[in-house]
Amino acid sequence: MWLRVISAATVWPRVFDPARLRRSRALRLCAVSLGGLLGLGAALAQVDAPIEPEAASGRQSAREQFHARHAAATAHPLASAAALEILRAGGNALDAAIAAQWVLGLVEPQSSGIGGGGFLVLGEPGGRVRTYDGRETAPALADEALFLQADGQPLPFRAAAVGGRAVGVPGLVRMLAQAHREAGRLPWARLFEPAIRLAQEGFAVTPRLHTLLGMAPELRRDPEARALYFQEDGTPHPVGFRLRNPALAQTYRQLARSRGEALYRGAMAKAIVDKVQHHPDNPGRLRRADLAQYTPLAREPLCFDWRAQAQTYRVCGMGLPSSGTVTLAQILGLLVAARAEPQWQERPQADWLFTYSEIARLAYADRAFYLADPAFVPPPGGRVQTLWQPDYLAQRARLLGPQRLPVVEPGQPLGVRPPLAYGSDSTERGTSHLSVVDAQGLAVSLTSSIEDAFGARIMVGGFLLNNQLTDFNFQPRDAQGRPSANRLEPGKRPRSSMAPLIVYDAQGQIMQVLGSPGGALIIHYVAKTLLATLQAGLSPQAAIALPNFATVGGPLLLETGAYPELRAELAARGVPLQDVALTSGVQVLQRVPRGWLGASDPRREGVVAGD
């Protein structure tokens, strides 16, 4: 085991020389590398029972970038460009993030948009953090049996997700409007200008969009989506095609004029409700009153301390109804309790990966059992922090052994088992993350989602509606009739795994701004990034480039073909392995002397932009 010694001044390993970093002010649209297409085949094999929301579409070559003043890392070059435009126009990080989000809804429609929801973490340089919850809610007329068939069996995922049934009340727009009202600098309407321009003038269809459209036959059944994204013969527009979306431009103009309220009232609200209620195959129960009554929530942030390489960091993110920060706190805390510093040279070793996998199974068991919308299901003891109290973590860590645990149960932080059912884990899907910092040191970490790739496959006003309600447990009760914490209830927010994070150092300075899409696996992607950078000392880009690994309780998932040298030992310790594309989309900004180092996940199409 090689213990890496990190000096106080830098967390970079010896092999990483910052002088060799290319400093760039220009954006580059990166080309798809042939080797990356390997991922595509594995993704196609899993069409009907996906672990993953979004398929792989190849890898880009990517380089991290240094920027001295301000920077934005998003999943698409045009979104990063919009953020930079706003920063240069005097907008703060929040203004830039919002402008980027509107562009993402246009150019990365499969992942997020105004028809969905999201979570925003806003970090001030002094250490004050605010979090905003724009998660979708279940309509008033929805009930816990929404996803059960007549015989009591849960619906297959596609049957549940495609159509109006799973559409939740979109929260993103009202949430961003509230955050902007409290912390924005530029006028609201200004933030829509880049997206409106692109929607009118058109943008080039990227390889990823083209590939994913080709894998979404249900999308063609929506007349508006079909007309927009597909050619006469039903195939998607080719890579490079100039795609215009005038309907979305018009929608954005109305949102610009009305502070976002046009989505929730009047003609647009009626149009949304009509399409949901009158879907030909799978109608939903959304009503105009649901839209009128939607309330975003400014929540207390959830922060925990994490000790890595003799430094103490404060990791801050969204609390419930997202499980992201909670489960991450458990995983990192259990790694400390189990004394498993990452034994990495350039990558994880077998012993560490075994321990990590077992720890993650314990954490995900608690997640499935305890975590849900706190307005409906209070966490143990009323405070989610009970789940990472040192005594409790020590108790959980004592369960670990040299061989894989045959069965993993949720723990009992209060010593009693509440009368809940263990909810089968539904995974979350189509999502995007962006990280922005500005010259005054304000940081924004925003993850937003429409659930599955292309959401409910319903298009209104140029945007796609979410199918977020499938994030509830399809089966609301167990055989004894006990309810699961994450069952659907009217007005409730489904549990999420989104983990937009801001990490502070012990002096209260922002150290890192990060997050990722990837459903229930988000937690692993951000854990890997944190461990690889702040514990093991890799550069942000190298950390992201490390092959992904994850588990939700069953087999250990490894990014296709990764870690061949570890597999024999893992198997010997009883760990079942499965190869999956594991298409993360990490966007990270890390503070370095005199500026920010930004890195964007090569598995998606993102870039870092800045000055």
Partner: protein
């Protein structure tokens, strides 16, 4: 023996229980309620309690009223009802030309803030008049709690602080505002101690002279000098000439009860008109909180406002009379315009050629006081005479300036009183007193009266439940504001009828705050049932 016609179950999430007592004060601030109770303990009656509470609340709730407020009252003296209109008139120098000269030919109303929005303040004269005619304790005693609070200071409660902070950006540059209300250069925070020594001085002068200092003495001189220094028109003669007016309340029958309001220039007549229309519908048979239940009230209210905004002004200037507006045949015809299936916009009818605190007090001798006092829009003009702490209302903004405007009768003229929004109410039954009540909040007031009365009288909800229930607020056109707790099904049905419903998320938006005191029977034996609105910081307190 008390026979109360209520179901005491409260189906709404609220924070209050109704209070049962034989001497009770119900206000929007606890210290004001204490002030009133002190008078009752000292042997004072309900009028003494109301005045003491009113004086105290000018200090504790400056976001709604001050020493420069107007006031109205309806009181039951044990045998009959009396009404008091103490709204102040325009200074003698005011005319449309005065405002066109200063603010341009295209001005439509006097300004919203500043010295030219201030009419003669009537509240202090109201206190003196009520005390002289009906009070038991010496007038100076009634001012004592307010003086102590002003000197000792108090810790800022939540709702008051929110309104204070929200008002500061707009008002911080008005004459005297920062000196009085931004003691550390900013609005106080929740829990911080605010004291008002200048107002204590003002109150002491008022106490010593039974209010005459305000209209003829040292305070009057200071006000005139202050107005002059800032370009205003208020003169010594304006103040000296002011007398509050005792009036006979106007009335409307509803479900066997009689609802009383102060006649114009106030807008209470809107509540009476709406109730007069609703008498023609069987609201009791409609499911409580359902869409029909609300829709009919909303439409009746719109019809009433259409006439009130067109006609109500200083009574001498009105083209139609209150009697005409309340004519049963006219109201039946107006009610006939209501379509139960859809929302409409209404114009005025065809008639022949006529920022607020509310508090209520009642004692075991049977005296009941319904009292309202206001600076109009929040802090009011924003102008505060610094030596005596007189925070001045902006009631002048309620005038129009143009004969071709929406309400020609309400055009400004010397000595004329403007259209007034604050309305105390009173309920009787066969001549016997039943309830003293009010719901403060600009145009929310008559709507609040109607909504709470219908709940109590048609559906027998107890006063606290009737107060707690989610409310709607009509402003203009088809737009309707509702509180977030509005039932989802009802909301959906109202949208289907064409109401343009907006669910108000902003907690600063006002759906009114009410106080209610319902007489249970013999006041010395059965006492009263009192309720206080959770939407403000106040309480109902009694013994």
């Amino acid at each position: 023996m008390a026979t109360l016609p209520f179901d005491f179950h409260n189906p709404y999430a609220g924070t209050r229980l109704p209070v049962m007592a034989r001497n009770v004060v119900s206000t929007s601030h606890p210290l004001a309620a204490h002030a009133g109770l002190r008078m009752l303990w000292q042997g004072g009656n309900a009028v003494d309690a109301a005045i003491a509470a009113a004086a105290a609340i000018t200090i504790t709730e400056p976001v709604s009223c001050g020493l420069g407020s107007d006031a109205f009252c309806i009181l039951w003296d044990g045998q009959q009802l009396h009404g008091l209109n103490s709204s102040g008139p325009a200074p003698a120098a005011w005319s449309p030309a005065y405002f066109f000269r200063k603010y341009g030919e295209s001005a439509t109303t006097p300004p919203k803030r500043g010295i030219d929005s201030v009419t003669v303040p009537g509240a202090v004269a109201a206190w003196a008049a009520m005390s002289e005619r009906f009070g038991r304790l010496p007038f100076a005693d009634l001012m004592q709690p307010a003086i102590e609070i002003a000197e000792r200071g108090y810790l800022l409660p939540v709702v008051v602080q929110q309104k204070w902070a929200a008002a500061t950006p707009e008002l911080q540059d008005q004459a005297g505002f920062a000196q009085a209300f931004l003691p550390w250069g900013r609005a106080p925070e929740v829990g911080e101690r605010f004291s008002f020594p200048a107002a204590a001085r003002g109150l002491r002068a008022i106490a010593a002279t039974r209010g005459r200092a305000f209209y003829e003495g040292e305070i009057a001189q200071a006000l005139v000098a202050f107005a002059k220094a800032h370009g205003g028109a208020l003169s010594a003669a304006d103040l000296a000439a002011f007398r509050p007016e005792w009036v006979t309340p106007i009335a409307q029958h509803y479900r066997g009860y009689t609802v009383h309001e102060i006649p114009p220039n106030g807008q209470g007549i809107a509540a009476l008109m709406a109730l007069g229309m609703l008498e023609h519908f069987d609201l009791a048979s409609l499911p409580l909180d359902g869409p029909d239940f609300h829709h009919l009230q909303i439409e009746a209210m719109k019809l009433a406002f259409a006439d009130v905004y067109r006609h109500v002004a200083e009574p001498g200037a009105m083209a139609v009379s209150a009697e005409q507006l309340l004519d049963p045949a006219y109201l039946r015809a107006r009610a006939g315009l209501i379509d139960p299936r859809r929302a409409q916009v209404f114009g005025p009818g065809n008639l022949a050629r006529g920022g607020t605190i509310y508090l209520s007090a009642a004692d075991e001798q049977g005296m009941m006081v319904s009292f309202i006092q206001s600076n109009y829009m929040g802090f009011g003009s924003g102008c505060v005479e610094p030596h005596y702490g007189i925070s001045l209302q902006n009631r002048g903004h309620g005038f129009g300036l143009r004969a071709d405007g929406p309400n020609p009768a309400n055009v400004v003229a010397p000595g004329k009183r403007p259209f007034h929004t604050i309305i105390p109410a009173f309920l009787t039954r066969e001549g016997a007193p039943v309830m003293s009540f009010g719901v403060m909040g600009a145009n929310m007031q008559p709507q609040g009266h109607v909504q709470t009365l219908v709940r109590m009288l048609d559906h027998h909800q107890q006063p606290q439940a009737a107060c707690d229930a989610p409310r709607w607020r009509y402003n203009t056109g088809l737009a309707l504001n509702v509180e977030t707790r509005f039932p989802s099904d009802t909301l959906e049905a109202l949208l289907a009828r064409g109401h343009q419903v907006e669910v108000i998320q902003d907690s600063y938006q006002d759906f009114g705050a009410g106080q209610f005191i319902w007489r249970a029977g013999d006041p010395g034996v059965d006492g009263y049932v009192a309720a206080s609105d959770f939407r403000r910081d106040g309480l109902a307190a009694g013994f």
